[in-house]
Amino acid sequence: MEGPALVAFQMLNGLVWGLLLALISLGLCLIYGLMRINNLAHGSLFMLGAMLTAWGCNSLEMPLWLATPAAAIAVAVLMLLLDTVLFSRVAGRDMTVGLLATAGLLLIIDNTVLAVFGGEPASVDPPVEDAVALFGLYYPAYRLLAAGIAIAVLLAVWAFLRFSRYGLWMRAVPQARELAASTGVPIARVNLVTVALGGLTAGLAGALATPITGAHFQMGLAILAPSFIVVVVGGLGNIAGTVTMAIVYGLIRGGFSVVMTPTWAEAVTLLALLPLLYFRPDGLFGGR
């Protein structure tokens, strides 16, 4: 593959990747906005979603359409438990406490997964092997399906934040936490919903990525830097900015992948975005 077809292929790859990155970063952004916790273990939630999907498909012989939501829900349930024992205890405290606590959580999750599932990469066949004719090339249908699901979930989260009672509270609390509490908003329950939603979207991203990238216990570390950079460049706590930046990140990475290997493209994309923080320290879209 070469020329315009290669460019189109890599840009589509970048778009798919950007949408999955948006799902991951969304939760990171919500948790930071609401609880002021930089969750270093967020990449591990993505990894856990992927590993559980691979385990469900390969060991339990579940179909992918069942293993995907099951893995995402399992990660969300884990986050509900973690809110009680960790997140609610470090919320509002010095940011270093949150960083140390979630760094410890990262090690616990990654090493537990290594102990339980082993260190060998796992793969899952996509449920649809077909390719779709698009921009003069044949593009894997599953990747388009994964992108479609990611868009649908992002829209559902937007609708939840825009129209539901908890969504309204999740937008209100980061703006004025004490005011929200003195208005009767149940802060602890709002935190719980936020943490679970963050786990659900990160777990789902991992599940959707499994037939594309496979699953490995260290894949969470690789996603951590891109996740943080899009949250910061998008504007800390700014949900729309984060989602937009994740998609832009994917497209830039796709563009670089035309002329270099994906690993180099990842590194160069990160380096290309860092100077933006010098000129716009609050991110391109402003922080919350």
């Binding site: 703006q175 004025a176 003195s182």
Partner: protein, 240 residues
């Protein structure tokens, strides 16, 4: 029955002992003005009632219910609305959303039409981000939010600070209307002595974290309490 009864309240910020055994009652439908010099403990008292101070000891009952074990949000749902000095509105939410935050939080919110009936000035701004309104308009939004909560006790910390003179009088009217027509008890911290005397039915003076004097708006003027405790000579005539 007392709307609010506080006994032996003590509060600390770190090693600073701000409230030192404060006793205070607010009767149902009463509008109590809390006067005191800077640093006397007025704001700390309101924050302590809302459990927004790191360390508080003492008894607090709301309509006979002991609320000392409740968190801030539970105290709000029990019927206390608090307008603080620092945060008046959720700036990025529209005015309607600011009110909806409260409406969703309490079991029996007051209907929006009822709220707009008393605070009609915000009707034309419902879709605007609250952070783009003037200081006075933001105070009216805050009042609307408190009213939506169907609160039984309204606590206000200097609601007229930075507000245009025309709106100061309007805020006073709304406070009186909430107490008179809706039976809401009010605890008002206010530097504007004129508004305090005009809006309140009772005045308490706070010094070094304790209530040191009290009286009616008329008596605190006639007996020289304002001059004694605040160093203020006033010709303000309290409302009859």
């Amino acid at each position: 029955m007392d709307a609010l009864a506080i006994s032996g309240l003590q509060a600390w910020y770190g090693k600073s002992h701000i409230l030192q055994g404060l006793d205070l009652t607010v009767a149902t439908g009463e509008v109590v003005g809390l006067f005191g010099r800077n640093g006397a403990g007025k704001t700390t008292l309101l924050k302590s009632i809302m459990r927004q101070v790191p360390r508080v000891e003492g008894g607090i009952t709301l309509f006979g219910q002991d609320i000392t074990a409740l968190g801030t949000d539970a105290r709000a749902r029990a019927g206390i609305a608090y307008m603080s000095q620092e945060n008046r509105v959720f700036p990025d939410l529209s005015v309607a959303e600011n009110i909806a935050v409260a409406a969703h939080a309490v079991a029996a919110p007051r209907p929006l039409a009822d709220v707009l009936g008393l605070i009609g000035e915000i009707r034309d701004h419902l879709k605007r981000p609250a952070g783009r309104l003037s200081g006075g308009q933001q105070q009216l939004v805050a009042l609307a939010r408190c009213m939506t909560m169907n609160c039984r006790l309204l606590m206000m910390d200097e609601p007229t600070e930075g507000v245009m003179p025309q709106l100061v009088e309007r805020i006073g009217e709304i406070i009186r209307a909430m107490a008179r027509e809706r039976g809401v008890s009010v605890l008002l911290v206010e530097q504007n002595i004129g508004l305090g005397l005009a809006a309140c039915s009772s005045i308490r003076f706070i010094e070094k974290g304790r209530i040191v004097a009290s009286g009616t708006p008329h008596s605190v003027v006639s007996e020289g309490l304002l001059e004694r405790h605040l160093g203020v000579r006033t010709r303000v005539r309290p409302a009859a």
